[in-house]
């Protein structure tokens, strides 16, 4: 059992109430930061901790904070990105639902560090039931003097609000999120200017993922140096992993970064192995947009080294033989899963979620979905495979926001690692479209 920073008390009965939460040491970081530290000292601790953004990009949080522009007389905002929509990711929902005060505590401490006097939690609209939980907890915090004017007599004021989305994956992109928070369509903004200069309501803004913000209290309580001791290298701290797919124990696990992938899949502490005694075929280790890896490459890097649950190890080998930790959504495929069908499913998702603002993504995501749909349903041509690779390349890197890349990578990586399976679908349409049919030719070599 590794150290639990975020989930230590998550299953304590009544932890969603202020009373129980405080009994378990809750809001200590607010006391400590507001009464004994300057905002810059808090920022420094977060920098020292090496905490990286937990939403997917993995950008150092302290550095992001230090980019925030601080012009005189202009309000600054902290916005929490709780628009968790990446397929495979459900850690933030579970966390907020069970332990809302932990996020609120993080919001207060982080807002203080950034000098924000109004902060927002933007939560995806589907999670209105979690919004109610958060609002209830916020009301408790106001009543206890932890929010509002002159928090705990420190002279620091903070208002905290929750805002719902309306069903749009793209609003997880930080500038689309800000547009949505302003009551507009979730079209990502052109950058520059970056949110750190012109964000919400044209004011300097930091947007951080739920898990990132919720990690701050521990860092304040225990120092950034202590946090940096957890994990391996530049992957410091713990990470919530959403484990799903064909495993015995799906769920959210807090791991110390550095756990071997093999242990994560097979240990009873985590996924508990592949369900129904089946073989492992592939894993998407960081949410639907990161490259899929066949069983052999998820266990070991191309160089034969053991693959670890860290930012660096999972991306070892680049996109040729590696993937990404992303948002920590670990999706496991057993031997009976069809990669073509899954790739079409993901392509449909990105087609459905493209905002339609810039042309390569708007047109390209639909194109890929339609071609994949044809292949999956027995109407593919051999040249379709190269066409998909080409269309993916035409989208990648040429769009306003990363959704284009997110749509291109799963298609390109599935073809890279499972090309035979695509070819089989095209060559044997009748066999491939029979119920339950799965190509097993590549399985023997790929399974571990």
């Amino acid at each position: 059992m590794g150290i639990k920073i975020l989930t230590e008390h998550i299953n304590v009965p009544g932890i969603e109430t202020l009373e129980v939460y405080r009994k378990h040491g809750g809001y200590r970081s607010v006391e400590k930061a507001l009464k004994t530290m300057t905002p810059d000292e808090v920022v420094e601790e977060v920098k020292t901790s090496g905490l990286r953004g937990r939403g997917g990009a993995g950008f150092p949080a302290g550095m992001k904070w230090s980019f925030l522009a601080k012009p005189e007389g202009v309000p600054r905002y902290l916005v929490c990105n709780a628009d968790e929509s990446e397929p495979g990711t459900f850690k933030d929902r579970v966390f907020m639902e069970k332990n809302p005060h932990a996020l609120i505590e993080g919001m207060i401490t982080s807002s203080y560090a950034l000098g924000a006097n109004t902060s927002y939690i933007y939560i995806r609209g589907e999670l209105l039931f979690v919004l109610r939980i958060l609002e209830k907890a916020i009301a408790e915090a106001y009543a206890a003097g932890l929010l509002g004017k002159n928090i705990l007599g420190s002279g620091y004021d903070l208002d905290l609000h929750v805002a719902p989305g309306g069903g749009a994956y793209i609003c997880g992109e930080e500038t689309a999120l800000l547009e949505s928070l302003e009551g507009k369509r979730g079209n990502p903004r052109n950058k520059p200017p970056f949110p750190a200069v012109k964000g919400l309501f044209q004011s300097p803004t930091v947007v951080n993922n739920v898990e990132t913000i919720a990690s701050v209290p521990w860092i304040v309580n225990n120092t950034g140096a202590e946090y940096a001791k957890i994990g391996i290298g530049r992957s410091t701290g713990t990470k919530l992993i959403s484990a799903s797919g064909n495993i015995n124990r799906p769920g959210v696990y807090e791991i110390e970064l550095g756990v071997p992938v093999e242990e994560f899949i097979y240990s009873d502490e985590y996924c508990g192995g592949i369900w129904k005694g089946k073989q492992l075929k592939a894993v998407v280790p960081g949410g639907s947009s990161v490259p899929i890896l066949p069983a052999d490459l998820i266990m070991k890097t191309a160089a034969g080294e053991q693959r670890l649950m860290t930012y660096e190890s999972l991306s070892d080998g680049g996109f040729v033989s590696g993937s990404m930790l992303g948002s920590g959504a670990f999706i496991v495929f057993d031997e009976d899963q069809c990669i073509v069908r899954n790739t079409w499913n993901y392509a449909r998702f990105y087609h459905h979620e493209s905002c339609g603002q810039c042309s390569p993504c708007r047109e390209g995501t639909g194109w890929m979905e339609r071609v994949l749909h044809r292949i999956e349903h027995g109407h593919g041509h051999q040249q379709d495979i190269d066409l998909l690779v080409s269309v993916a390349k035409q989208i990648e890197g040429n769009t306003i926001c990363p959704l284009g890349d997110a749509a291109a990578w799963p298609v390109a990586s599935a073809i890279r690692h499972f090309r035979e399976e695509f070819e089989w679908h095209i060559k044997h349409p009748q066999e491939a479209t029979a119920p339950g049919a799965v190509y097993r030719g590549q399985l023997a070599a790929a399974t571990v």
């Binding site: 749009a168 369509r185 052109n190 520059p192 087609h351 459905h352 979620e353 493209s354 905002c355 339609g356 603002q357 810039c358 042309s359 390569p360 708007r362 047109e363 390209g364 995501t365 639909g366 194109w367 339609r370 071609v371 044809r374 066409l387 080409s390 390349k393 035409q394 890197g397 040429n398 769009t399 306003i400």
Partner: protein
């Protein structure tokens, strides 16, 4: 001031100028195309991606290249920046790919489209497109709708540049149309049948880079390359009254704003000038309008015959044209 090198050509521009505007200062063939950016419209640009360029050196201070291609229409220059457009294979390939994307849902109905001959997408495809398509899936189609008595929306042709939305936002008092839906199902519309009724609504026709928004008073009247453009003005209480008339003989077939070589209007005009003043007698004629854009109209200049400079001296520069034999 910032000095940049664009396709090997040095140019000095004001700080804050975009790469595209710097390239336009150089002019000629190196200028990246633009399908969504429109100088008079604040906030436009960044969407169509055809103006992508490669920044091989970020600035004198930080010479690292930018990792991705950038949209030249929204990226400000830095002193010492080095940019490649027509000299960069990656840029040309990306642009070709984007033109292909723009065309997969665009009908090739140019023979019956009023925009043909002055269509930015037509020009773009001619320069960067490929003659055959790799797209064999169903295409997006819409019914034509009338947005009031003067404007027709042919959504099937739209490339979602948002220019008409910015126009309605910025030069009319009350915007009633916008972008509805999302992704490739997004469309320009009014949601519930609404008439675009405003003194300046006709300008959405001028800003449209394709034939999605057309002038109903001009519909199927003629082909643009058969009509003669004239600069004209009238004393208009609503707008500047400075327009271009398009006609044959003494018949005014169409009135538009005056546009520069990048198809950007010089001054927006009102609906009365555009739709109601269709008699030569309504106007004071200033003279022929030279069309500098890369469209077929420019191949049809009539101000003066194609000339050989030494024979007829002191001609305005705009009328000089190279003889094929030169």
């Amino acid at each position: 001031m910032a000095k940049i090198t664009f396709d090997g050509i040095e140019v000095e521009v004001e700080d804050g100028t975009t790469i595209l505007q710097a390239a336009r200062k150089i002019g000629g063939d190196v200028v990246p195309p633009a399908m969504c950016f429109y100088t008079p419209l604040k906030g436009s640009g960044g969407k169509c991606r055809v103006c992508l360029v490669k920044v091989t050196q970020g600035s004198a201070r930080d010479p690292r290249p930018m990792p991705k291609l950038v949209a030249s229409c929204i990226t400000p220059v830095q002193d010492g920046m080095v940019v490649e457009n027509t000299t960069n294979e990656e840029v040309l390939n990306a642009r070709k790919g984007i033109v292909e994307m723009l065309l997969i849902n665009h009908p090739l109905d140019c023979p019956v489209c009023d925009q043909a001959g002055e269509c930015d997408l037509q020009n773009l495809s001619y320069e960067h497109g490929v003659s055959a398509t790799r797209y064999e899936e169903p295409r997006r189609t819409f019914d034509r709708v009338d947005l009031g008595p003067y404007i027709q929306l042919h959504m099937t042709r739209c490339i979602l540049c948002y220019r008409c939305v910015y126009t309605a936002d910025q030069i009319t008092e009350k915007r009633v149309h916008g972008v509805l839906g999302r992704g490739d199902a997004a469309e320009i519309g009014t949601y519930i049948e609404n008439v675009i009724d405003n003194d300046f609504s006709g300008n959405v026709i001028d800003v449209c880079p394709v034939g999605a928004l057309t002038d109903k008073t001009w519909r199927f009247k003629n082909r643009v390359w058969f009509t003669k453009p004239l600069n004209a003005h009238r004393d208009c209480p609503t707008c500047s009254g400075k327009v271009t008339l398009w006609g044959r003989g003494d018949t005014v077939l169409r009135v538009t704003a005056r546009k520069d070589e990048y198809a950007e209007v010089e001054e927006f005009i009102c609906n009365t000038c555009r739709f109601d003043k269709k008699e030569m007698t309504d106007w004071t004629i200033e003279g022929p309008r030279h069309i500098d854009r890369g469209s077929v109209i420019s191949a049809n200049h009539y101000e003066l015959p194609v000339v050989n400079v030494p024979i007829v001296p002191n001609l305005p520069k705009s009328t000089v044209k190279k003889m094929p034999t030169e």
